[in-house]
């Protein structure tokens, strides 16, 4: 407890400097704007703005505060296009459309927006409290991890990714492997041997992280937008004057609290982020509601509050493994992790003690950010809603311009401009084939960490693979990995059988 309080004191000392307050506000505001754009979610927003944040020459903690603000701000803003337009910005906001849009159709858009803002605020804030409490504990424990344990942890991360993300586990796993393979390009740091560089000098240092992120999440998104572009504008429902009532909050308070907790813990699981959390929370609430759960999907308040609380809580929860273990909990935190690496900061168990200004500064800024989001979201929602009417034919070239500025100004090599286009086409094809892109970036970010720990572990044991299952921590993690693969499959089969039985009756 004492470490938490002194840590928070350090954190607020960092977060309350004028520059950082400004960055929190700016990050949250622009994050909400970006999240409100139809079709653009937190991961694309952070990807496109990452190089610009990097190029500003900020110290690492300030840059991280800004990027994290954009991240959870966009998580907040995603609900606006879900409710008013029925177009979710990303997978995490899909569940919000189920009850949010019907409410807007009934003329209760204002009520839906304000309730979801409060649910998001509670989810986000509880997650930051959880992060402050669990982060240092986990970090303390993780200091004792050996390279072999890290290998086990990575296997667990990829196992939970494959079993929980996407519809096809094989494709998710393959996506992660593609990311890992992309990460092997360039000179091997241990021996100096070039791998997969084909004699091209531009590839000697490997593919730049920024290039992969902007290619897969900026350019692929751009192609997706062009493909989806429907003739004329999407029809936006107006924000009306209806507002949250006291009774609404009383009715949904347990839903919000429950789903915040669910979201936080699912967010902690490495690899799984807001999309899984909001789906699980929605399903749980629907089941708990029993008979009255039939109104879910027709504009039920609980059905709106549940996924919103959960996905914002998951956004905070996903930061726990990223800050304490150096293993990101979601695609977007993988990008934040990459951003830290660009600043030569290695996230991991030692960050809480060695770079407290970064770990605690970020946490403290998130307390401020959540309050700021609630305050700017309640009155200004009409302004954000106007982003929905930004025509696609301006949005698309703007994304290209930002992507080019980012890549050119940071990497400074025209060769990389072609590379992002190529990666964009590749990412677009992957999306068309039902691959999710988050595992690719996760694999890319974790590639060298995974390989180096494996090599280090085997160097310690002089080549004996037995070291990987020597420690109880590794064995426990492999056990968890097996569980996380088996349990959902088992539950899925059971519910399928239950459905079949119901049909026979």
């Amino acid at each position: 407890m004492e470490t938490v309080l002194s840590g928070l004191a350090t954190g607020f000392a960092v977060a309350l400097t004028p520059l950082n307050i400004l960055l929190v506000l700016f990050g949250c505001f622009s994050g909400t704007l970006i999240g409100a754009l139809p079709g653009i979610g937190p991961i694309n927003g952070v990807a496109i703005l990452l190089p610009i944040a990097y190029g500003l020459g900020l110290p690492p903690e300030s840059a991280l505060i800004l990027l994290a603000g954009i991240y959870y701000g966009a998580e907040y803003g995603g609900r606006i296009s879900s409710i008013l337009l029925n177009v979710p910005g990303d997978a995490g906001a899909v569940m919000t459309t189920l009850d949010g849009h019907p409410m807007a159709l009934k003329g209760e858009a204002g009520r839906a927006l304000s309730l979801s803002a409060v649910a998001s605020f509670v989810g986000g804030t509880l997650a930051v409290i959880g992060l402050s409490l669990f982060g240092p504990l986990l970090a303390k424990f993780a200091v004792t991890f050996s390279p072999a344990d890290y290998v086990a942890l990575m296997v667990f991360a990829f196992a939970s990714l494959a079993s929980l993300v996407g519809r096809n586990g094989i494709k998710t796993l393959l996506g992660a492997v593609i990311g890992l393979m992309l990460a092997t390009m360039g000179i091997d740091a241990n021996t100096g041997v070039p791998r997969y560089t084909f004699g091209i000098p531009d590839l000697l240092a490997g593919i730049d992280f920024l290039v992969v992120v902007i290619g897969l999440f900026g350019m692929a998104e751009l192609l997706h937008l062009v493909e989806q572009q429907v003739s004329g504008r999407l029809r936006t429902l107006p924000v009306d004057r209806s507002f949250l009532r006291r009774a609404d909050l009383l009715r949904t308070r347990w839903t919000i609290l429950r789903c915040s907790v669910i979201g936080f813990f699912i967010g902690i699981l490495p690899g799984t982020g807001a999309s899984v959390a909001s789906a699980v929370a929605y399903g749980t609430e629907k089941r708990l509601a029993g008979k009255s759960g039939d109104s879910f999907g027709t504009g039920d308040l609980r059905g709106l509050a549940a996924p919103e609380a959960a996905n914002n809580a998951a956004a905070g929860g996903a930061l726990v493994p990223m800050l304490t273990l150096g293993i990101p909990g979601s695609g977007t935190t993988a990008i934040l992790l990459g951003a830290l690496l660009m600043f030569n900061v290695q996230p991991g168990p030692l960050m809480f003690t060695q770079r407290p200004e970064i770990a605690w500064g970020l946490i403290a800024s998130m307390y401020l950010g959540n309050v700021a989001l609630l305050i700017i979201n309640l009155p200004l929602v009409g302004l954000f809603a106007r982003m929905l009417t930004l025509p696609q034919h301006y949005l698309t070239p703007l994304i290209a311009m930002l992507a080019f500025v980012g890549v050119y100004s940071i990497v400074g090599n025209p060769f990389d401009l072609y590379l992002i286009i190529l990666l964009g086409i590749f990412g677009w094809v992957l999306r068309k084939l039902d691959f999710s892109l988050a595992p690719v970036i996760l694999g890319f970010v974790l590639g060298s960490l995974f390989e180096n720990n494996l090599r280090r572990a085997l160097s310690i044991s002089a080549g004996d693979w037995g070291i990987l299952i020597e420690d109880w921590k590794s064995i426990a993690l492999y056990g968890l990995a097996v569980l996380v693969v088996i349990l959902p499959a088992w539950a899925g089969r059971r519910s399928a059988r239950a459905a079949a039985d119901a049909v026979e009756d």
């Binding site: 796993l173 393979m181 070239p397």
Partner: protein, 145 residues
Amino acid sequence: MVDRIFAGLLLAVTLGYGWLAFAVIRAPFQYDPLGPESWPRILSVLAAICLAGILWKPDVERFDTRGGTWLRLAAIVALLIGYAGLYEPLGFVLATLLFGTVAARLLGATLVRAGAFGLATGVLGYLLCAGLLDLNLPEGPLPRL
């Protein structure tokens, strides 16, 4: 079907990747039990197994993209390649002006509005990014800010 084609292509790439890992990459000397080739070997085997799974049980039959959309996608990719090619020779302002105008027009803006948009992104984008944020952008033939 498209699933199988894509998996087949990736399999070819993976086989190439694996061949390099198994036959070519080698450290001149090393002390560690695992060299630079071990990790790519593991990955190539994993990828091959996953790809075999997809070839066995594909789940996406075809792209539901229609003819006109393909054309528009091809056009935007061509535009992006052109933008990349002109980025350094023409400089940010002119290249963005051209790209913004043509892209907005292609995607459905009227000619006048597309032109205004291109001009605005080129000039304002430069002032904001190079002037205010101090980022490094190509200048091209135009005089320095």
